[in-house]
Subunit: 440 residues, 4 copies
């Protein structure tokens, strides 16, 4: 049975295909000569499924789409503080090749403009590494995001270097502000090599999906960068990714994104999906004309907008039930899904508003697939208070979703694999069949 | 049993309480005279529960925090197009009182700077309304967000008007660009009345929770503005809410927010929570010093950051099971939670990858609490394809979570209240007990 | 015999007359309705002769041409320090209606942009005068520059006020920076009255000639403002008079100038001439198209450029001669023309290089028409040194061109009316006929 | 007999000598190590006399003071159009090392900021010359201005190149805008060599005097650049020479000037004098602290301000007289001094207002030392009209001050060497002795 998503993508491509406005980038022959009619779109889910339509296996140079990934690598390699000291996170409201250095310090406003991207490039790998080593690190890193070995398009790279006057200007300016102390020409060459890495729309979607999947490549299962890094990168993409029309994109599309001058655009919706489009004709901002149309459509058709989040609170409390009676009575509290603050708050509140009167209380997290730290702590505090209130508390956690389940002073918690074990532990008898009481 | 969240808030207030840096706003006596030691924080959940600590019922003027709400009202009253034609959505990277008009058009860059906020004020209510009517509309609207009748602090309002030179300058400038054609003085007066509305931290948290709850006040249950409007407002708060340090806030705190010069800050995390803090001493950006500290802390302690979203995909498929056998066999597909694109994709994919061979297929959405439109359409398309494949398809949807369940041409779908009804409908016999097969 | 200058002017008007590019100012009906074909040009010499061609007696509103004159009045009325504290003298490189306030202080960059001109208007007359009194002072002052009573065009004034949004904006902004503390609306009204004063090209040329003539109206002989004020005004006109193309004008035309939106342009070449042109069609900078052409032509045809100054040094020493012989010998040193530092230096040097050996030395300044202070002091020091060297020194100064001729300690100087008197004073004999020796 | 000007200069140096505020430039060791107490001032007259006090023969690097001279060379070598196409003439209101490129074109705003100065350097010498040849041309040119062979300080030059990051940035930026197509590094190197030329205050004063003397070195008598070039250079110095305080300098000092980071400042007052000061401590604008004080003093003490010009008109008409009577009567009109438009106008006007009735008219220009083109044409036109009016007209012009004395159609003019010749030519008799009639 053929999936419906390819059909949807085919339809979308067909609708935008008629628009042949814009033009391929003209500043180097390699980009100018690109087939302007190429068109492709890919969805990659965070569990690694790829849906595509059109030219999704055609190679083109990654260009500026490398910027958020190199930023992730720099944050990962050097830590937040050294990187933030040299590159800001403020939207510039300006074109990609504007200098946009902070008054006084000369710090580039953000890593998505060229000044910031070259500085970022200089911050990848270990400090003091030679330029070649730095480039190697970046290509390795981009490859890890993509899940396959990527290579550089030497012709484009050579050509870019011949037209690198503006980037050389920016690099010398950064050097003059001591934003980096490396040789400016070496940094520009390395950065242009980074930009000349060849990717397909499929690669880009997988790279985006790696961001959406909190830094773990969905196919290889390999963690490329940490979650905190991913959060930073997505935040910066959200505010600075689409250059001078950042606000338009943030309101209308609402997907953290980045475009490249060869015609690619990526979008990463955290926890959901990585998207890539490819169409070489650019608008006056340097963004792919049909790529922008596709993203607007995807956002609108599929509710993919970071500010469009379903109410999370109601999802976690699956049921409250009591098994057995009197002395044997066991209150079973079942949780489900991904638990974050709002869900934990609701659960804890419900328990506290009507504290269980049964002597034994079971918190069943076997249907929970993730719990964040604040929720874990709230849960354990609840356990502690129930203990102090005279209850015996059990945690059903067969997959160890709650690490280090210590409820702290005065609290006691017994971890078991199934609800059934609770009764057994106490009196050797089977647990009585459930009488559902509350169903959230 | 006392909730642990007030304890958490008490601890947080106590930690930041020692910081007495910054100063109250000095430009009018009413603000300068505020008690600088006031400190309060409130969480309001999207189902209306309020947790607070400190000075949460002290009244102060709403000031710039009125801006996102007035923007919501303008979008709601006039529609998107007329408002966007007059006020942009681009971050200005500048202070609140910068003029920041778009070159050429004179359009204010965004509704969070004064120029944009005054234009927004002029765009509330019906076109051509007189100034008094406009103010009335705004106060009504703010009251609806808060869930109680708010009133204006006349002394502050009078004093603001005496120091309104800069706002008058901006208003005349906007008038000169024909951004509005109303009398500039009338607009400034109305805007300053809007800013002089008295609120408490509790009110602000409820107003923020209304945004987090997609436009419906959690307590009154009243829809104040539409979901599309809320999405726009949150997007703009995310990029333009905290003035010149928008990028810092977006990366570090990651909660769409707005601050006011009287010391309030609100934050709204969509689908989760509304937050408000109150502490009158301001930093050099005009943001409450201790309020900013509290927000940083809340974001970090509780994972409240828009780019921190749990993987949604795994949550929806609860189980696949088969009941009965041979001719009687019923395949039961159970879904749960809030279903968005990524979850629907995963469900549909799983079904298509291993199509059911049983003659009857039941899609059970009784544990689903929300499904967005794209997911609904994917589900119905799946039903259509299953029908074409020769299956009888049933939808268990006792709470009518899937509106208008028409699978389209060639599809057929029978909606029932319980799984048990399916067997009955076919042969009068009870459905055999489940043999779980797949458990996601 | 008819003068050739009118012929020249006729020819110039005829040459530029064909150019009908540009358009009359459109923002108020009174300006839009001006006859676009009007064309006139006037030269006014610093001794009051007027040459004109074309429409030189048609009245139009003075508009921004009032700015340098009001600046002169403010400097004159309040002194330099208070005016410079509120209005800068830096070129803005921007259009007339740009705000261009200095960062931090809010001080307008110069008195030729509207912000500076309104501040200047507020600084005319005595401090604390009411708006009507201020306007009266300005109109009196402009009239004194023109040499006839000027009046306001009430229709234009009323119309300007109805379109004063931008000026009101600027005035409120200035008020917010406390650049002035007067009521902003009153300042704008007064300023627009100032701009609505009716003048002819003939008036403007005479006003410019008054500046060229060091502040004295050539016809009335009345000093309107002091020389120091005139120098300041001309300097500011030279760098800021022609808005965003200040540098082009300074290099190509080189005449301190100012244009008005009704089509006038004035130029004042210090010590030489006042010029005015009138032609209502404006270019994109707001300067009269044909007026600019005429000025370029005048500058180029007639060498009227402030950086084109003939070598002044050779002009002053008219002759050195000796009359009589031996004991009776008189050395006669004759000077001529206007003597400034470079001329005085040359004269003193020549005398010192070949000190007179005759017992009597006559310095004859009867052909000198002006001597500046430094030259006067150098001359007197020379006298002192000649005395110390044993000479009897006489000054022939029938028109008292050298005030207070005290050569200081050790010097002695006898002032006489003619060279002949010297001989008589000594021995009663007539002075021998001159034997010219040096002729410079 | 010792001149009084050195005394004046000694006094001035002594007065400013106490001020030890400011600091030597710190960015390279060679400048930082300069003796901060050095102090010198030089006046050079346009006939080559040099007055100096203090350290006037100490060598230091010319730095930015080379800019106006290199600009003169470029204009001279390439012509106005090609240079103006690449470098503007607008004041930037910014510091010397600001980029200040024109929006859109990337053209540097003026030749006094580094961007413009490097572009100017690239425009010296013949097009396509190699970098070494260009440098040679510039050093030759600077030497011609100074009147002696100048040489480069190699240590400073090497050191400058090591700290040239910002200049390299600017040069690459210019290259990217195709403001020049030369190798950016070569241009920077050449420019820094130009800046490293060693000069003394004496040299600088002579260079300035060459500008004041319309492009002719007063000592060598060699024309270095044309008059039109000098006018352009002086105009640009007047508006852009002193960086961000251009307006202050233009109003207060009023001498076209340029400063260098090694502590030199030059000023050139056209037709009068070249001035140089040397004192290495700089203020925050990068101008020599004591140098600025000295210039303020010179301007104020000696009336050296371009807007302070003596009335020129009265100087030219020396006398009108008649010799002989009746048929023999000769009207002698004597002119003197430098004649420009205003003087010519007055002369012509006087003659026309009271036309001579004598049959013969002599225009005696033997006491005139210069006449500009417009005046020459006015004079010849007057001759033509006198001829048409029936007069025989003679021009006494022994030094051929009036070139090509053709009065045009209908005019006739006889050129003679002395007034006496006129009578001889007509009747062989001597001219009767003069009876002065009018004495202007």
């Amino acid at each position: 049975m053929r999936s419906m998503i390819p059909d949807y993508l085919d339809g979308a491509l067909s609708d935008v295909g008629a628009d042949d406005s814009g033009a391929t980038a003209a500043y180097i022959p390699e980009l100018a000569a690109a087939d302007p009619d190429r068109l492709g779109a890919v969805f990659a889910t965070i569990d690694g499924r790829v849906y595509g339509a059109g030219d999704i296996d055609v190679e083109f140079t990654i260009q500026s789409i490398s910027k958020p990934f190199a930023y992730a690598l720099a944050l990962s390699d050097r830590g937040f503080e050294p990187v933030l000291a040299k590159v800001g996170v403020e939207p510039s409201g300006e074109a990609f090749n504007e200098i946009s250095l902070e008054d006084g310090t000369g710090r580039p406003l953000n890593p998505m403009i060229n000044a910031g991207a070259m500085t970022t490039h200089a911050l990848t790998g270990p400090e003091g590494a030679d330029p070649a080593r730095r480039v190697e690190r970046v290509i390795d890193g981009l490859s890890a995001f993509a899940g396959r070995r990527l290579r550089v398009d030497e012709a484009t790279c050579t050509s870019e270097m011949q037209h690198a006057h503006r980037n050389l200007a920016i690099a010398h300016m950064l050097r003059s502000h001591e934003i980096f102390t490396e040789d400016p020409r070496g940094v520009v060459e390395g950065y242009l090599r980074q930009c000349s890495v060849l990717v397909t729309a499929r690669d880009l979607a997988m790279m985006a999906a790696t961001l959406a999947n909190r830094g773990v490549n969905p196919l290889s299962g390999r963690r490329v960068v940490g979650e905190r890094v991913v959060r930073q990168v997505l935040s910066v993409m959200a505010t600075c990714g689409m250059y001078d029309a950042a606000g338009d994109w943030a309101t209308q599309v609402g997907i953290p994104a980045k475009s490249g001058v060869a015609g690619g655009i990526i979008g990463a919706l955290p926890g959901q999906i990585g998207i890539a489009t490819f169409s070489p004709r650019l608008d006056m901002h340097g963004n792919s004309v049909r790529g922008v149309s596709l993203f607007e459509r995807f956002s609108s058709d599929m509710g993919l907008h970071v500010m469009e989040v379903p109410p999370a609170a109601r999802t976690v409390v699956r049921s409250h039930s009591v098994r057995g009676s009197a002395q044997d009575a066991v209150r079973v509290l079942r949780l489900q899904g991904g638990i974050r603050f709002a869900g934990a708050e609701r659960f804890v509140r419900e328990v506290m508003d009507s504290p269980p009167t049964e002597p034994r209380v079971v918190v069943d997290v076997s249907a929970v697939y993730s719990i964040d730290d604040v929720s874990r702590r709230m849960l354990l505090e609840l356990v502690r208070r129930l203990t102090l209130d005279g209850r015996d508390v059990y945690l059903v956690d067969p997959e160890v979703i709650v690490p280090d389940p210590d409820p702290g002073e005065g609290g006691r918690l017994t971890v078991v694999g199934t609800v059934e074990e609770v009764a057994v532990r106490v009196d050797g008898r089977g647990v009585p069949s459930a009488r559902p009481e509350v169903d959230a």
